[in-house]
């Protein structure tokens, strides 16, 4: 009876700890089931090391054909379920086949791991990093344990960062000139700018600035594009007259933004746009969309 029950229960408990787990920064990660857990944060070319301890359920022995730990970087397309694409895969063998009778601890280390892509949770695509411990067993099936971690890569501020300045309009109806102070923003940046009204012949009700994220996945005929509006920020209330200039000051920190990702492993891209929307009294919308580049600035703390 015990034996049968044992078949449905894990035969052992596996725990993965990072060597600097106490001091390392933890960030929230949304799991598939919707729960948010705190996971450690790494960046590319860091050493990922720690210990894996295996503790058999009291008094049992675990027979195995070898134990290994893998570090995997995966891209998962939601429309192509269960088909992971591993762009990084590193393996360490922890033990030769044998039996474990009592708690056993294995140190592991992946040094200067190349992790060029950041963890990303999108609408149609997910990029994740995991540690995967596998206890291979013959007839009983392998025992597997996963540990997620997050990767973020920081860059220096771009050397060239021009402002965005543009004049747009509808002939004899509306002419505006807008200016955003930069074309590249870091995630906690502030967008500063101005909108000049050169000609106003329509009755404008209000004006918003939207931050839109455009995620494209797949390639060729299979390309899926998903656009989300992450921020809708009212810039102006009421109808301006010719010659008026309206200030823009939009703090980016409240919004959940990521850096711009261009063609990640030929699988997906994430781009950001500023969309200036004018709404007239008949609720007609006039807009101009402009791409901005988002980047993650090295944290100086």
């Amino acid at each position: 009876m015990n034996y049968i029950l044992g078949a449905f229960k894990p035969a052992c408990h596996i725990s993965i700890t990072f060597s600097d787990g106490k001091s390392r920064k933890q960030v929230p990660l949304k799991k598939e089931n919707g729960q948010t857990v705190m996971v450690p944060l790494f960046q590319s070319q860091e050493n990922i090391s720690g210990k894996i301890s295996i503790e058999p359920v009291s008094g049992k022995k675990v027979e195995h054909n070898g134990i290994k730990v893998e570090l995997l970087g995966q891209i998962e397309m939601y429309f192509d379920r269960n088909n992971f694409y591993d762009f990084t895969s590193l393996v360490r063998e922890l033990d030769v086949p044998g039996e474990i009778y009592e708690r056993k601890t294995y140190p592991f280390e992946f040094s200067t791991v190349e992790m060029p892509y950041e963890t990303y949770n999108g609408v149609n695509v997910r990029l994740r990093y995991i540690l995967k411990v596998t206890i291979s067993r013959g007839y009983a099936g392998s025992i597997v344990e996963y540990q997620d971690f997050v990767v973020r890569n920081y860059g220096p501020p771009p050397s060239i960062n021009n402002s965005i300045k543009m004049e747009v309009g509808i002939e004899d109806c509306l002419h505006i000139e807008f200016e955003y102070n930069k074309s590249k923003y870091h995630l906690k940046d502030v967008i500063i700018g101005k909108i000049y009204f050169l000609l106003v012949r329509i009755k404008i009700k209000n004006m918003d600035l939207e931050i839109r994220r455009r995620e494209s996945t797949g390639s060729g005929a299979n390309t899926h594009v998903e656009t989300e509006t992450l921020a809708k920020f009212e810039l102006m209330d009421g109808a301006p007259v010719r010659g008026e200039s309206i200030p823009i000051r939009l703090f980016l920190s409240p919004y959940e933004l990521t850096p711009t990702y261009r063609n990640i492993n030929n699988k997906f891209s994430v781009k950001y746009y500023l969309n200036l929307v004018l709404v007239d009294e008949e609720d007609r919308r006039y807009f101009k969309q402009q791409e901005i580049t988002m980047f993650r600035l090295g944290e100086t703390s």
């Binding site: 102006m236 209330d237 009421g238 200030p247 000051r249 703090f251 920190s253």
Partner: protein, 791 residues
């Protein structure tokens, strides 16, 4: 659209808005009490979202605003207390800017900004500049105005003014000025824009709503005027030019009018005086429909009051040539605003004149200059028809009179009569009345013939008919009042020098003789009396007058008088002329000019014979003649006899018996003058009395015949009294027996069957008897005399 909907809906929306605010305020209070910043921000933003409505009129929106305002005060207290929410003010300043909607965001930003400045963690000017810039995001007129008004409110005590705790470290008063000016400019733009918010047909309503909001804009100017650091230099170089620039550029009549007025009202007069040129320079640039005259008038009034406030400031006025500048500006405004009605121009001149009078009371040339400008303006158009304009001209002409209390001054102003020429006849008269009243009020004496000439030229509207005025249009009473005023005026013309006085009289005569039959009866008498007064004065000088070459002699004046009165008798107004002749006769008598007096009497008698036809008038006249004649002592026996004979003759020829009777017994006095060398002809007195008794008898009989009753015995009693008079005066012809007889006669008459009872004459008789009784009992000489009379 708020305009189109009814008031009921508006009430409903307001109630909804208030409910929304209250609802969120409840949660806001709870969040604040539990020191929960995040919740506090959330609910305050929601609360402020109620102010995003477009459906309320300014009035109702204000109500909503005030509710939100109260909540923001509470929130500000919370923001101030970093210990409670644990967020530094710098972070807070960023945090509130995360709000997605612009209006709540900016209200919160201003609120935190206020705390930020107070914390002094950043220079006040930077925060203020940021706030005033960020507020540009609200372009909706009403919402923007209230938002900026909130900004003005919270910043008011935090301006880096001189002496303020926020001054220093690069924060100067100029920053304060810049801030307020910018907020002012933006508010004004929003306010001006309000008029374009609705369809044209409701413009009137919009204008009304707009004017309710004007004080929000004007408050900025008020704040500026309260800034200590705004000295004359800053005002001159920065504040005024920038405010004016905005005023001129906004091209909106409502705003321009209000703001110009506001500038004039809030800033000190001293500043206005020193920046007069700049300020005035703006006026011609305003929209044509702006009521410039009112504003400009206010400015001048203020400056006038300022000048009047202290003599020390007067040199300043001279130094800046205030008058020249104002005069110049008015000229330009009138030139620029072709459409301005005449009344506007005139009222400007009135203000300028008031200014000139107050500030440069010694400069009559200024006054004349203003009048001259006015003439120039008026000369382009025909006579004034506009009622209001006329009133203004009257005001213009009255002002110098009131200032100088003295008609003399007005008479020296060459343009004065020229202005009057532009008045219509009616107003001209009113003005003439004003002139006269002024003279009366201040008891001004006009003392030269020359001035009198000018004066009468000015009031010619009263003196003679001006073409086009129909006599029957005149109200009789008004006419009388006018002419009475002229009559009073004549008495105000006086000079101590008889010669000049005579000139004055001649001048007046020249003018009033043109007055026509209706006026002469009013104007001649005062002139006559004025002349007689002169005669009396000359008479007082006595010997000195004897000099040969003196033109002003009584004789000469009497000649003049004769002509004057003659004119009156030709009018015809014989009774009046007759009285005047008698007056002159008496005066001549006093001057011992017998032939002259005789001549006057002759004239009087001629008039009596030829012109006085009415029997009642005859009675009055004859009594006057008798009275005057009685007092004459200059006549020799012959002349006197002629005249008394005539008088007695006329008396007996009066129409009614009682009148005859009375006139005749009055004549008895002509023969008994009760003074030392007066004539005392007792016989003729008795003759007169007897004759009157006969007439009384005849009257009684006539009454019996015609009416069947005897007339009252009054006449007899009256005669009895005459008897008693002469009896007492010692006329030997009047005996106690005669008196006794008369008393008996009266008693018989009273008891006769046909007598008509008449309480008045009974009483009269009883009194007379009582008097006799009294004299008897008094004793002494008189008592003895009366002793023999029995009652």
């Amino acid at each position: 659209m708020m305009i189109a909907d009814g008031i009921e809906d508006e009430e409903k929306w307001l109630a909804e808005g208030i409910a929304g605010i209250q609802h969120n305020a409840f949660y806001l209070h709870r969040a604040v009490e539990s020191n929960n910043l995040r919740e506090a921000l959330k609910y305050s933003a929601q609360l402020l979202s109620e102010l995003r409505t477009s459906r309320l009129s300014p009035h109702k929106y204000y109500e909503l605003y005030m509710r939100a305002f109260d909540e923001l005060r509470r929130l500000e207290m919370f923001f101030k207390d970093e210990d409670r929410h644990g967020c530094s003010v710098v972070d807070l300043y960023e945090l509130v800017q995360h709000a997605g909607n612009v209006l709540p965001r900016l209200y919160l930003l201003c609120t935190v900004g206020s705390v930020y400045i107070k914390s002094k963690e950043a220079p006040a000017k930077d925060v203020l500049k940021d706030l005033v810039e960020m507020c540009r995001s609200v372009q909706h007129p009403i919402r923007g105005l209230f938002l900026r008004s909130y900004l003005a409110q919270i910043s008011r005590d935090k301006l880096p003014d001189i002496g303020s705790e926020y001054e220093g470290d690069g924060d100067t008063v100029m920053d304060a000025v810049d801030f307020v000016l910018q907020n002012f400019t933006e508010m004004n733009k929003l306010w001006v824009r309000m008029q374009h918010q609705g369809p044209i047909r409701v413009k009137e309503k919009l204008d009304k709503e707009r004017s309710k909001l004007r004080d929000l804009v004007g408050k900025n100017l008020h704040v500026l005027s309260q800034v200590e650091g705004v000295d004359l230099e800053i005002y001159k170089d920065t504040v005024l030019p920038r405010v004016l620039e905005q005023v001129v550029n906004c091209k909106d009549e409502l705003a321009q009018y209000y703001l110009m007025d506001c500038i004039i009202q809030v800033f000190p007069d001293e500043y206005h005086l020193q920046t007069l040129e700049t300020l005035l320079g703006a006026f011609p640039q305003l929209q044509p429909a702006v009521d410039i005259k009112t504003v400009l008038s206010q400015l001048m009034d203020r400056l006038s009051n300022y000048a009047a406030s202290s003599a020390e400031v007067l040199p300043e006025f001279l130094q800046v040539e205030a008058f020249a500048k104002l005069s110049n500006a008015i000229g330009k405004v009138i030139e620029a605003q072709v459409e301005m009605p005449v009344v506007g121009a005139i009222s400007l001149y009135v203000s300028l004149l008031t200014f000139a009078l107050r500030v440069h009371s010694d400069r009559l040339d200024y006054v004349d200059q203003v009048l001259g400008a006015c003439v120039k303006k008026l000369s382009g158009s025909p006579k004034l028809e506009d009622n209001k304009a006329t009133k203004q001209v009257v005001a213009l002409l009255t002002a110098p009179l009131e200032k100088y209390n003295d008609i003399d001054t007005a008479l020296t102003l060459s343009n004065y009569p020229r202005v009057m020429d532009h008045l219509d006849a009616g107003t001209n008269k009113i003005m003439a009345m004003v002139l006269i009243q002024s003279i009366m009020k201040y008891n001004t004496c006009v003392s030269t013939a020359e001035k009198v000439d000018v004066l009468f030229e000015l009031i010619k509207g009263l003196i003679k008919d001006i073409d086009g005025t129909l006599a029957d249009e005149l109200d009789e009473e008004d006419f009388k009042e006018e002419q009475n005023s002229v009559a009073r005026l004549v008495h105000m013309l006086y000079n101590d020098d008889p010669e000049e006085m005579l000139q004055i009289i001649c001048t007046v005569r020249k003018h009033i003789m043109a007055g026509g039959p209706k006026r002469l009866p009013f104007t001649v008498p005062p002139l006559v009396f004025s002349a007689l007064k002169l005669v009396r004065r000359l008479q007082g000088l006595d010997g000195e007058v004897a000099g040969e070459e003196v033109p002003a002699t009584p004789r000469k004046i009497f000649q003049l008088l004769n002509q004057i009165i003659e004119a009156l008798s030709n009018v015809p107004s014989p009774e009046l002329a007759l009285r005047l002749y008698l007056q002159c006769a008496e005066a001549a008598n006093d001057c011992d000019l017998e032939p002259v007096a005789y001549e006057f009497f002759t004239q009087a008698f001629v008039l009596y014979e030829e012109e006085v036809a009415d029997s009642k008038a005859q009675v009055t006249s004859i009594h006057l003649i008798i009275g005057t004649l009685q007092r004459m002592n200059a006549f020799g026996v012959e002349n006197r006899d002629t005249l008394t004979h005539k008088a007695t003759g006329y008396s007996a020829k009066l129409l009614k018996k009682p009148d005859q009777c009375r006139a005749v017994y009055a004549c008895s006095h002509l023969f008994w003058v009760d003074d030392q060398d007066g004539i005392k002809d007792g016989e003729r007195v008795l003759l007169c009395l007897k004759r009157s008794l006969r007439i009384a008898n005849a009257a009684q009989q006539m009454a019996n015949v015609t009416r069947g009753t005897g007339g009252p015995v009054t006449l007899f009693v009256e005669i009895l009294n005459k008897y008693l008079y002469f009896f007492e005066k010692g006329n030997p012809q009047i005996t106690s027996a005669a008196i006794q007889g008369l008393i008996e006669l009266i008693k018989t008459e009273m008891q006769s069957d046909t007598a008509t009872p008449d309480p008045a004459s009974d009483a009269f008789f009883a009194c007379t008897l009582r008097y006799i009784e009294f004299q008897k009992q008094k004793g002494g000489a008189m008592g003895e005399k009366y002793d023999s009379i029995r009652i």
